[in-house]
Subunit: 357 residues, 2 copies
């Protein structure tokens, strides 16, 4: 939902800019294009918090060396249906694409595969990698850990990361079902925005300095922590992600993870991630699974709706509609993203895209 002052740019033009910025700080052309594709696809979905808005942060860290421009993720250990990937402190998007491709290849052999990742960093939108599997007809799961920002029930401060988790399911004539969520009730950005506007917040978003739910965001993020979504459920899922993306992968866990924005830019952050791919066509007659998912989606679309509700959506459907419009009409960038792109241009030396109004 871009504000009125949105600036329109074509997907191709934004891709060219992000690719150029990554190239100018040392990535190969192929790596730069791949990382740019993740960010621009995310913008096209309308998920601007995880798209090219962060380009400046990746560029800054690549220049400082904590992200290695010439880092090459590699398989450190593997078995028939699993692999452990060392990210070599490369850009998280490069490592994550490599890891999910490894999971897809192994799932094609074995039916399902798990790939754990260590020595990675912020990987953008979790959903991109789940979608890599779904667009090839597999079910994909993607998850990552991060520095603690989310409370546990009863805790005074943060216990787990906001730990994104995503899945994508191929859906035949429908676009893939695609859920991308964090384990917190809401993103910290929403709390911060309420603070900026001087507004109070719902009682299930934040805990205050005393560990109790608060409707006052004025101390955030220095004070308090996000509440887990649905209390012990979100907390429980957060710990599953710590187990699969952190502990099992050999990555940094909770307070060992580096803050990719604020910690010493010369040091790797040590983030972990995990990817699972399930090779649907090995398990069901051709087309049978997608027919069943199509029927499920159709059933949801036809289901009775509450008053004043126009449509029922399946996860990802809104994002795909934004994506298709973006491909046709370009992306309407919110002003904070444009400001951030200007910074990325200055930091990298890449010429800003031409923004037709």
């Amino acid at each position: 939902m871009p504000p009125a002052a949105a600036t329109r740019v074509s997907v191709a033009e934004l891709n060219r800019f992000a690719t150029s910025a990554f190239c100018r700080v040392g990535l190969t052309e192929a790596d730069a294009a791949a990382a740019a594709d993740v960010l621009v696809t995310t913008d096209a979905w309308g998920v601007f918090t995880h798209g090219t808005k962060n380009l400046r942060n990746y560029v800054r860290r690549l220049k400082a060396g904590g992200l290695r421009p010439n880092g090459r993720p590699f398989v450190a250990a593997a078995g028939p249906a699993w692999a452990m990937v060392d990210g070599d402190a490369a850009v998280g998007m490069i490592t994550s694409i490599f890891a999910m491709q490894t999971a897809i290849a192994k799932a094609r052999e074995s039916g399902i595969a798990y790939v754990g990742v260590r020595n990675s960093s912020h990987y953008g939108a979790a959903g991109f990698y789940a979608w890599l599997a779904a667009r090839e007809g597999l079910i994909g799961l993607s998850m990552a850990n991060d520095i603690p920002s989310v409370a546990a029930p009863g805790s005074r401060g943060a216990i787990t990361g906001s730990n994104p988790i995503s899945y994508a399911v191929p859906a035949g004539r429908h676009r893939a079902i695609l859920l991308d969520m964090s384990v917190a009730t809401v993103a910290g950005g929403k709390v911060y925005a309420a603070r900026t506007r001087g507004e109070s917040i719902p009682a299930n978003w934040l805990i205050g300095a005393d560990g109790r739910p608060t409707t006052d965001p004025s101390g955030y993020p220095q004070v308090g922590a996000l509440q887990p979504a649905a209390g012990h459920k979100g907390y429980g899922i957060a710990l599953l992600i710590e187990a699969l993306a952190g502990a099992l992968s050999g990555a940094a866990v909770t307070w060992q993870v580096g803050n990719w924005l604020w910690d010493d830019g010369t040091k790797p952050t040590g983030h972990g991630a995990a990817f699972i791919a399930i090779n649907v066509p090995a398990m069901m007659a051709a087309g049978e699974f997608t027919r069943r998912i199509e029927a499920l989606v159709d059933e949801i679309h036809r289901a009775p709706r509450a008053d004043n509700v126009d449509r029922l959506y399946v996860p990802g459907e809104m994002e795909w509609e934004r994506h298709d419009r973006a491909m046709r009409e370009g992306i309407s960038l919110p002003s904070d993203v444009v400001a951030s792109l200007r910074e990325a241009a200055e930091l990298s030396g890449a010429p800003l895209p031409d923004f037709p109004r």
Copy 2:
């Protein structure tokens, strides 16, 4: 939390009774003991809604034939890291143990394995099967679909089942981390209990006849539907479970699933389930994973707490403490469970346990 009128019974005695009841309606001694173990372990965890309270319902359906006393789950198709199990309309607990054991064996070969289940029925507590994996040092996941009872954001009625999902992670000197949750904000039983007491409910538990959130439970369950936990997040996870436990397994999905309590008792319900096992020892040096999980649990136990909070728990910790007490002192059965056991005794002809007060 049993009421004052709780009736105490030893784990062994309750096991004998449940085994005897299953035997008398046609299960083999081995199947009866296995199914009883699931239900009694669940009671020992204090999860009385999913334990021997349901014995009468299984017995009734076994007598009617919709659950087949001599049903034998079998592997209908398989690959290196996956299998599809047909439950043969056997008791869901028997089929689910068989399916998770299949997943564990395949994960030992390949690292990870997925097993889809069709032609199953109500399987009790999802967590039992996840725990089967964890007690052998693997990470386990367990999930199942069910008849729709949970809304989607904007829907007027139910869209997905309450779809339980569970995971268990071996934790070395700590008990396994064990989360067992449904995708609804709360169990329908809690809404019904509020109705019985004439109380209003929080606004995020239920939607009413118009599809809008309501604090009035008086029409439930005839009217309205449960709300998904954390809105689109719970709904999104529900659809992942429909995909893995319903669509991919070839099971019945949403409205095709039979109501195991109220539908024609002579017909199979067609429930689906899915199990995933991850063979931790194949992927990490011996003890390394559990040391990392131990450190995570220790960190949580030491973390600062909100005022008046005595302890921070990891998922499953409360249940394990109840379990250990139950093994020592017996299980204190709430009166509704005792009443239900009396019915199971009448239906099956098994002699009721001797209840020392």
